[in-house]
């Protein structure tokens, strides 16, 4: 046991000596939370637009004023000919051009009906549709208000209540994802790299011939990363709470227990990767492509899974972070208890066992190396 | 011997913070000499060698290699030396021929010259049949011999060998030293660090470093005589122990 303690301390020292990596490990969640909290939003603000007004009447001026007055739009230039439209959109100076036809005023008078062209730069498809709907909303609002005095007709009010996130803040969405990503990064990526590194440098062999049991070696390698991951998870929760006012609606204990479970899942994945690869670069590539990318994209972190094509939805079923994110959203934001997430918890636990079992089998193969057979742990000559 | 010194070092100091890795080194190496640079691990051998090769700058002292100053003329020095490091220095994922071609090219040999050189080198090593094998598929002994040949592919006046025979079997070591003699015979100065005290006996002159200082310098025979022992190994143990006794 004493030997084992010494081994763990050695692993800790390894990590703490590398200040740069450590800094990044703790800087990463902070930077990401800031990014997602403040920068990555789909809200539109101050969209620059241009006006081409062939009609020049009170109505068109009112509409432009109204649009400019909203916080969503900012009038950039006034155009004087149709030819200019293409240029200023292409240059990217404006994202929207409002065009009033020459007969706008006369149509209004004669038929009580006229149309505005809302030209948007749809190379950013999402933004374009949001811009259009905002502009159209303002125009419709104007058209309704300028209509005859409010009719005493009956009214239907629809009152939406935004549950769990009243102000529709972006962080709510991103905290669970960031947590999943960071834990994946530390537990799976770093662990696999650090084990493979010992293999590459031949030090693994030294450990293997030592009286430490293989399980102890793996445990020793893994323990510091468990601690690091846990610290990171807690600091993300704390950051969310103190900086972004993100509540922990459910049981904090349950949340941390679930984090622990996910750390285990990620670690077992990391161990599996390390038994299957022999060079750091390969381990990194596998971790990046097989773990990080799907964690970001296929887990419902940024993009809702249900909107994806079928084949990606199937793929997402085998992504551990997907379940973790569901759990965190439930426990942390909706405040539900274990009764709502037991299924996901079981799946994660099952995955962990599966990965561990698989690595244990690979590990056996390695033990055979000592009896002369070739295996993944074969040491390269110095 | 002294009139044609190709390496001259006087009062070389190298400090890393408070630690002095090289403490007042003074020595000269003559043309065509095989100079053995001995010392325990961490005695400062590699530091000194890196300075001589222009890989790092001394803290103070005068150092001239092939007549050029290590502070200002490292480019000239690099053109006039060969170097084979402790770590393996050929590209494992290139073939034998490709490695020779690469280093020949880096030293600015013409295509014609590279072709001649590689043919000559391969035949001397009896490696013609392996010219298209990847380095990583060669046994260590072959690699080291090849690395040495590549280090002198541009016929430098001086070659630095940093523990060239580490981990190599005795037979290959013997062959390796034959190659060193051959090179010295052609007038190439050999500056070699080693752990193997039997190898020290092969050198023309040796210096023994202890704790950053040169504790003894001279021909192997002279050193053995002055310490009254029969092998360099014993000289080394006396020096290293003596130093320990002093510090304790």
């Amino acid at each position: 046991m004493k030997r084992f303690g010494g081994f763990i301390i050695k692993e800790f020292l390894h990590i703490f000596r590398d200040k740069r990596t450590l800094l990044i490990l703790f800087g990463m969640p902070v930077a990401q939370m800031m990014l997602f909290g403040y920068v990555i939003t789909n809200e539109i603000r101050e969209v620059r637009f241009a006006v081409l007004d062939h009609s020049h009447d009170q109505n068109t001026r009112d509409i432009v004023d109204r649009i400019t007055a909203s916080s969503y739009f900012r009038l950039e230039t006034v155009l004087s000919s149709d030819e200019e439209i293409a240029g200023c959109l292409r240059e990217g100076k404006v994202k929207m051009v409002l065009v009033f036809d020459r007969d706008f005023a006369s149509n209004m008078e004669r038929e009580g009906k006229a149309s505005v062209h809302v030209i948007t730069d749809a190379s950013e498809a999402n933004t374009a549709s949001i811009i259009y709907s905002y502009a159209a909303g303002i125009i419709q609002d104007y058209s309704r208000k300028s209509a005859a005095p409010a009719s005493p007709s009956s009214q239907l009010t629809i009152s939406p209540r935004m549950m769990y996130n009243e102000n529709l803040e972006g962080v709510y969405m991103f905290v669970p994802g960031t947590m999943a990503m960071i834990l994946m990064l530390i537990s799976a990526l770093l662990t696999s790299i650090s084990i493979v590194r010992e293999k590459e440098q031949g030090t693994m062999e030294v450990l293997l011939v030592s009286p430490l049991k293989p399980v102890q070696i793996i445990l020793g390698k893994v323990t510091p990363y468990v601690v690091l991951s846990l610290i990171n998870a807690v600091s993300i929760i704390a950051l969310g709470y103190f900086v972004f006012g993100l509540p922990v609606a459910g049981s904090l204990l349950l949340l941390i227990a679930e984090c622990m479970l996910f750390i285990m899942t990620a670690l077992s994945l990391g161990i599996l990767i390390s038994t299957a690869t022999s060079s750091q670069q390969t381990a990194m590539m596998i971790s990046m492509l097989a773990l990080l990318l799907p964690t970001i994209l296929l887990s419902g972190f940024i993009y809702p899974i249900e909107n994806m094509p079928q084949f990606l939805q199937w793929l997402s079923v085998i992504m551990p972070p997907k379940y973790f994110i569901i759990i965190v959203k439930n426990v942390m934001l909706k405040g539900t208890g274990l009764e709502y997430v037991w299924k996901e918890t079981l799946i994660l636990a099952g995955m962990t066992l599966f990965f561990l079992g698989l690595s244990a089998r690979k590990f056996k193969v390695r033990i055979d190396v000592k009896t002369g057979r070739k295996g993944p742990f074969k040491r390269k000559e110095p | 011997m002294k009139e044609e010194a190709v390496i001259s070092v006087s009062h070389l100091y190298k400090r890393f913070g408070h630690f002095t890795a090289n403490d007042d080194l003074c020595f000269e190496v003559g043309r065509g000499e095989i100079f053995g640079f001995l010392g325990a691990n961490g005695a400062g051998k590699t530091t000194a060698m890196r300075i001589l090769c222009g890989l790092s700058k001394p803290t103070s002292g005068d150092v001239k290699v092939a007549g050029f100053d290590v502070y200002t003329q490292t480019d000239h020095i690099k053109r006039n030396i060969g170097y084979m490091s402790q770590r393996f220095s050929l590209y494992e994922d290139l073939t034998v021929l490709e490695n020779i071609r690469l280093y020949g090219g880096i030293y600015g040999l013409s295509r014609q010259k590279i072709r001649e050189k590689s043919a000559q080198l391969l035949s001397r090593l009896e490696m013609e049949h392996m010219q298209n094998s990847l380095i990583k598929s060669l046994p260590l002994g072959w690699r080291q011999k090849l690395a040495f040949s590549v280090a002198i592919v541009h016929d430098p006046p001086i070659v630095f060998l940093d523990e060239p025979t580490g981990g190599v079997d005795p037979l290959t070591r013997r062959q390796f030293w034959n190659m060193i003699y051959e090179a010295a015979h052609r007038g190439i100065t050999i500056f070699v660090t080693t752990h193997y005290m039997d190898e020290a006996e092969y050198c023309d002159r040796i210096s023994i470093m202890v704790d950053g200082q040169i504790a003894a310098i001279g021909t192997p025979a002279d050193l053995k005589a002055s310490y009254g022992v029969s092998s360099i190994n014993e000289v080394f143990i006396i020096l290293a122990r003596g130093r320990q006794a002093v510090t304790e």
Partner: protein, 372 residues
């Protein structure tokens, strides 16, 4: 010049022998595009609805019927019990719960006033706001027909109606993939040009071959060109390959001049390769280099407007993008491919990139030390 040629040849030989490298170059664009372009969609469909109909009247049934025809909604269930409806929200089986209170129809007829409540799972803010807007639209639509059926109670003179007619330029079908694919190309080019070339240098450091190179009379610039040029070429090749894949899989438009695009890409690569070189100078192990690059790349890519428009970022983030090469290239590649912008349109980002490339390159060359 001959020395550089030797170095470049060596680099290509090594790349050719690397068994993971080639498949990566060809597989990565395909996989990334398939996953990213399809996964990264903000299109709203499959909004799961649950009703809590406490009125059980023709009117409330009418509302429900209105949703059944919509392609955006899946009606998951209907319960009388509001608590049960809310638990649908909790266990995630519903995104929106529509609560129709008791006496809804009566109120509409008698009081000419009634209310419907929506409970929206707002953890994903944007999805929630779009979803609730769709829902409101459909209910309002239902209400209009309901009113007409109830006796055409549209009062007074016909109100003047101003219609906003949309015209979505450059991408009339609002195809999100057309927006994403150029962004993915930027990431690919960056990964190959910057990450791989930097890792390659650190790898030589780890292996010890860099030391061997350092004792040769090779000049700084020769070594740097020999290291960066091969990856510069491969990255540009990757851009071309990615464009072909994008054309075949997603039929992305190529409105502008491809020459211009490759020109900008070449300059962009210099800037990021300079940054990569800077990192590789300070890193001791590949792991470190990888981590540092990964960290900065995530930040720079997120800020660059890959997913969300730069215009909606806070002002400080927009200032930050002045020094973010990825952001310039992200903008330019979309402008050229989708809008057919010419050189005059992209002048500002073009010259900014050039300045960045110049700064990064000189910084990294200045910092590069042959001695250790």
């Amino acid at each position: 010049m001959r020395i550089i040629a030797h170095l470049i040849r060596k680099e290509f030989l090594q790349i050719r022998r690397n068994r993971t490298f080639l498949p990566m170059i060809f597989l990565m664009p395909v996989v990334q595009m398939l996953i990213l372009a399809y996964a990264a969609t903000l299109e709203m469909k499959n909004i799961n609805l649950c009703f809590s109909d406490q009125d059980l009247s023709p009117a409330s049934r009418g509302i429900q019927a209105a949703f059944r025809g919509s392609p955006f909604f899946n009606v998951m269930g209907n319960t009388f019990d509001p608590a049960e409806a809310e638990s649908c929200l909790k266990d995630g089986s519903a995104d929106i719960v529509i609560v129709i209170p008791k006496g809804f129809e009566k109120d509409l007829e008698k009081e000419r006033k009634a209310g419907v409540q929506l409970l929206v799972n707002a953890i994903n803010g944007s999805k929630a706001s779009i979803g609730s807007a769709y829902t409101q639209q459909i209910i309002t639509g239902w209400y209009r027909t309901y009113q007409q059926a109830a006796g055409g109670s549209i009062h007074g003179a016909r109100a003047p109606l101003i219609q906003a007619i949309p015209a979505f330029w450059f991408n009339p079908e609002l195809n999100y993939q057309v927006f994403m694919v150029p962004g993915i190309l930027v990431i690919l080019v960056t990964m190959i040009g910057m990450m791989l070339s930097a890792l390659n240098i650190v790898r030589e450091k780890e292996m010890g071959t860099l030391e061997q190179i350092n004792v040769t009379p090779i000049k700084k610039h020769q070594f740097i060109i020999g290291k960066l040029l091969p990856f510069w070429i491969i990255a540009l090749f990757e851009l071309g390959f990615g464009l072909v894949v994008g054309k075949l899989l997603f039929d992305i438009p190529m409105q502008g001049s491809l020459w211009l695009l490759f020109g900008v890409a070449g300059i962009y690569l210099l800037a990021v390769q300079g940054a990569g070189l800077l990192i590789s100078n300070t890193a001791r192990t590949q792991q470190q280099a990888m981590f540092v690059m990964f960290f900065f790349n995530i930040i720079f890519i997120m800020m660059s407007g890959l997913f969300t428009p730069v215009d909606s970022m806070p002002v400080w983030a927009q200032y930050f993008n002045y020094i973010n090469p990825i952001s310039y290239f992200m903008t330019v590649i979309r402008m050229i491919l989708l809008k057919g912008s010419g050189f005059t349109d992209i002048q500002i980002p073009f010259f900014s990139l050039m300045a960045l490339a110049l700064i990064m390159m000189s910084l990294s060359i200045w910092r590069y030390r042959k001695t250790v």
